[in-house]
């Protein structure tokens, strides 16, 4: 199969995936609304936390902005998983398996919808942050890096959703992982910097939780400018999750296509 044929296949499936995502307001609206709602409530409700000695900024809104990006990415898992499970349940994958379509094209095409949603989310959260005075300390280049990191996080979580959908073929199972991913967000440095977390067990969990480093990567660009270590850890964790989830999804797709 030539490279142009592969590109054509990816293009067609990507177009389908993007259009399908945009045609479902029930998928886009909560993915934008809920992170913004939590941001609005927490930034006002927890502003007094900035009075703690060692808190890195005097604006909790600026601190909490990173949460919206990661929480939004969690919705990617739901969105990708729901779309893939619908393809399994409706027999779309069965029909595709009868065609000479390459698996990699199917995977890349499906992921395009996640990335499109992730891009809308990242741009919206950035816009809201800037409009409400968060300011991006690392400037315009930093904002672009935030978008890139946010897309990588969306890709990782989206692949987890797609993996569960391919393994189980069930939309309900995809819904079932949402609380687990939500727990990963909550058991991180979401609400306070790790060095200000008082409980030892919580600090240990937050230290081992890759979501902490994803948050801190974005947060560093918003609050302190260019912090090589925070960025390296953020990209390493997001990239690591994405890589593992992508490998697992590829394997699950191979099994699913063979089964059909």
């Amino acid at each position: 199969m030539s490279r142009s044929t592969l590109a054509l296949q990816v293009g067609m499936l990507a177009r389908r995936s993007v259009i399908r995502t945009f045609r479902q307001p029930a998928m886009i609206v909560p993915a934008l609304l809920f992170p913004l709602m939590l941001l609005a409530i927490n930034s006002s409700g927890l502003d007094s936390a900035t009075n703690l000695p060692g808190f890195p900024t005097d604006s909790y809104f600026q601190f909490a902005l990173a949460i919206a990006f990661v929480q939004g990415a969690l919705f990617s898992a739901n969105s990708a998983g729901t779309n893939v499970s619908a393809d399994v349940e409706t027999g779309f994958l069965n029909r595709l398996s009868l065609t000479p379509l390459r698996r990699v094209a199917l995977l890349l095409g499906q992921l395009a919808g996640i990335l499109a949603l992730g891009l809308i989310q990242a741009l919206t959260f950035l816009g809201v942050g800037v409009v409400f005075g968060a300011g991006i300390e690392a400037g315009i280049a930093g904002a672009l890096v935030i978008v890139a990191l946010s897309l990588l996080i969306s890709l990782g979580f989206g692949c987890i959703g797609a993996f569960v959908a391919l393994r189980t073929g069930s939309g309900e199972a995809v819904q079932g992982i949402f609380p687990l991913l939500f727990a990963a967000l909550f058991l991180s440095s979401m609400a306070l910097p790790r060095d200000l977390i008082e409980n030892d067990w919580f600090q240990t969990v937050a230290d081992w939780n890759p979501v902490s480093y994803m948050l801190e990567g974005i947060r560093s660009l918003v609050i302190s400018g260019w912090d090589g270590e925070a960025l390296a850890l953020g990209f390493a964790c997001a990239g690591g999750v994405a890589l593992i989830a992508l490998a697992a999804t590829t394997s699950a797709l191979r099994t699913r296509m063979a089964r059909t």
Partner: protein, 258 residues
Amino acid sequence: MSRSGFISVALAVGRRNVHNYFTNPAMIVPGLLFPMFFFTAFAGGLSRVDSVPGFDYPAGYTAFVYGFVLLQASAFGGIFTGFSIARDFESGFSRRLMLAASRRSGIIAGYWIAAITRAMFNILVITVVALVAGLEIAGGPLDLVGLYTLALLVNLGAVLFGSGVAMRLRTMQAGPAMQVPAFLVLFLAPVWVPYDLLVGWVHAAATVNPTTLVLEAGRGLIAGDPTKVLPAFAAALGVAAVSVLWARGGLRSAERAA
């Protein structure tokens, strides 16, 4: 129509929904999981916040957060029962139920029995977890009776609100119409810090939100220092009374459609 008709309908609907709840993990988990998340994440991750100048709650941050998750678990017990009502309408069960019930208001009472059971189960699990995590309740037995009665009134208000929405829209897609207002009413209150430490628009919203009174009274009862108890009961009863009218309107709407 006799009172026994009302009671028998309420008991039958209540028994069915309680049975469905305890035999279906997909119904148990969401109402339990979210308050647990909030408790774990905030009692564990935010406990340093009680060192903020002006944070004046002697029972400690775990008890402070427990006051909120107790309320949340009660409210979610009611709201998720609203989901069950919507599901019953979608499946056609409610239409048959309304034809068979001698007193239709007993249907709402039956759903409340289920909602109370759900809330009590959620509260029990969360209380055990909180006690294991170091919760110290300084309030006496009378304070605790007040605290849990307040929680059940919140549950009543939530199930009546949820059933009003579910009976008007009669579809599972009505879920966000129940969940989002409940979420907003719960969170636009002094959730993570006392009222005096709130700033900006949340402070303004908390001033007019009856949840603030209920939350402050609940926390006072936990700490053994009852404050604003009567206004809190009045607020909870007021919300429940308005919700009764809302639920009755929903029942009429469902009857017209049946």
